[in-house]
């Protein structure tokens, strides 16, 4: 009887259009963190390298139930987890943002590299999870998932923004105008998605890799304070004096609570 009531309307109904048709996105599970292209500095100058470790046992990263987003879930063979504490062998700690917090002569200015940092949203996670940019450097936000992500920047010194990318392969370029460690990026549609970006006025920063190592290059001679930031373990500092083009090592150890 329902059909009968509306058969008149059914008669009017002439046009149908198939509006579906996104191919499934293939992208392999993101295994390795893409190396963040650090700022372009001259080879001259000193280098600070080191390893980031932590003591104690790392907290378990919560599993993410992606069943509501089949397209994301399909990109993983095992249950994906959040990336709060990504530990490597021998308690190496990755995703630590290391930067020179003091020692760079005031008044010295650096130009931002022309290359953009790519922030990819794939499998309902951010890649990279932690990264640094220079003030004014382009960040190209890319959506590799065929579904809506919004990118909300929670910043204090920079103008907050909230943009969305409903389709696959949409890109959006943003920049930050003021130094800020860290600007939090989050997706409100997928509450587990977080990324952190350190915005610096100089190119002297790095993010620790899977083995916990980092390297800051091109420092002129001087005494520097370096600060390491981790989303769960807080910050640690170290002081390093550079003379000439030497390479100094500064290992930093966090304590897992």
């Amino acid at each position: 009887m329902k059909g009968r009531i509306f058969s008149v309307v059914g008669g009017m109904f002439l046009l149908t259009v198939c509006s579906k048709g996104d191919g499934t996105v293939q992208a392999a599970p993101p295994a390795a963190q893409p190396v963040v292209p650090t700022a372009d500095v001259s080879a001259a100058g000193g280098t600070i390298t080191g390893k980031i470790k932590f003591t104690g046992t790392a907290p378990r990263n919560p599993a993410i139930d992606m069943s509501e987003e089949a397209a994301c879930k399909a990109k993983y063979t095992t249950t994906p987890t959040e990336e709060n504490v990504v530990a490597g062998p021998a308690n190496a700690l990755s995703n630590v943002f290391v930067y020179v917090s003091a020692g760079v002569p005031a008044g010295q200015t650096f130009t931002a590299p022309a290359t953009a940092v790519v922030l990819d949203q794939s499998g309902c996670r951010y890649h990279p999870h932690v990264f640094g940019v220079m003030v004014g450097q382009n960040i190209e936000i890319k959506n590799s998932d065929p579904l809506l992500h919004n990118i909300k920047a929670i910043a204090k010194k920079n103008r907050p923004f909230n943009v969305s990318q409903p389709n696959a392969n949409m890109t959006k370029t943003v920049t930050f105008a003021a130094p800020e460690v860290m600007v939090n990026l989050e997706c409100n549609v997928h509450g587990w998605m977080h990324a952190y970006v350190g915005v610096r006025p100089d190119p002297f920063f790095a993010v620790s890799g899977p083995d916990g190592s980092f390297s800051i290059k091109g420092l002129p001679p001087g005494t520097y304070t370096i600060e390491a930031w981790h989303e769960k373990f807080g910050t640690q500092t170290a002081t390093v004096t550079i003379a000439g083009t030497e390479t100094k090592t500064a290992n930093i150890t966090f304590a897992a609570h």
């Binding site: 059909g3 509306f6 059914g10 139930d65 249950t79 579904l147 919004n150 409100n188 509450g191």
Partner: protein, 223 residues
């Protein structure tokens, strides 16, 4: 193609759908009377040479008739509607044995808090699951709605369930699912750019399945 209300999935669907049909019939009759009347008049009383309109200022009897009929119909409709309205939305109508779950709206997700094994909300064994409302079939469920930021509206079409979640307010909506399966939840109040993406699901389980699901959740998640 769907030409009617969504399939019935809760005890509310019966009376609401019946009332919908009743109103459709009443308004359908009124619509036919008006539209057929208009078409008839347009054809029958079209201007022709030598005709003159009938000079009248109206008829009190006609006015009384078409005042009284709609008035009586509307009052009757109001009384019947109110009966079901009270049964569905009144605070006193929430069954005392209802199973309480908390639903917290947030830009742009629903956080569903379950009472855990002890069956009580607000205790330490509560656990929260994102975008999934698991309930037992044929058991009244009271949804304690709250909101983090803006107004959201919990909408389950199959259950004929809709209730705004207002920040700063604690609102209870209840329903009783009548069939097992998976249904969709939408947000029916504009809540920002991700409004359309506040999609969540209701899973209606048999009592045993539900117990098993709770046990699994209490054991530490959905791995």
């Amino acid at each position: 193609m769907r030409w009617w209300l969504p399939d019935a999935g809760s005890t509310f669907a019966g009376p609401i759908d019946a009332l919908f049909l009743a109103i459709l019939i009443i308004t359908g009759i009124a619509l036919v009377v008006v539209e057929v009347g208009l078409v008839t008049f347009v054809i029958k009383y079209r201007a022709r040479p030598g005709r003159k309109a009938f000079y009248t200022h109206g008829s009190t009897r006609a006015e009384v008739i078409w005042t009284a009929i709609p008035a009586v119909t509307m009052v009757a409709l109001g009384l019947i509607s109110n009966h079901y309205w009270v049964l569905i939305k009144d605070k006193k109508s929430i069954p005392p044995n209802a199973y309480h779950v908390g639903v917290h709206g947030k830009q742009f997700e629903w956080q569903v808090t379950y009472p855990g094994p002890d069956g009580k909300l607000g205790t330490s064994d509560d656990f929260t699951v994102r975008n999934q409302l698991h309930v037992t079939v044929n058991e009244p469920v009271a949804v304690e709605l709250s909101s983090e930021d803006v107004i959201h509206s919990l909408f389950v079409p199959e259950f004929r369930l809709k209730q705004d979640a207002v920040p700063g307010m604690h609102i209870i909506a209840w329903f009783q699912a009548t069939k097992t399966g998976e249904f969709e939840i939408g947000c029916a109040e504009l809540c920002g750019m991700g409004h359309y993406k506040m999609r969540a699901r209701v899973f209606v389980h048999t009592p045993d399945d539900y117990k098993a699901w709770v046990a699994q959740q209490a054991a530490g998640g959905s791995e």
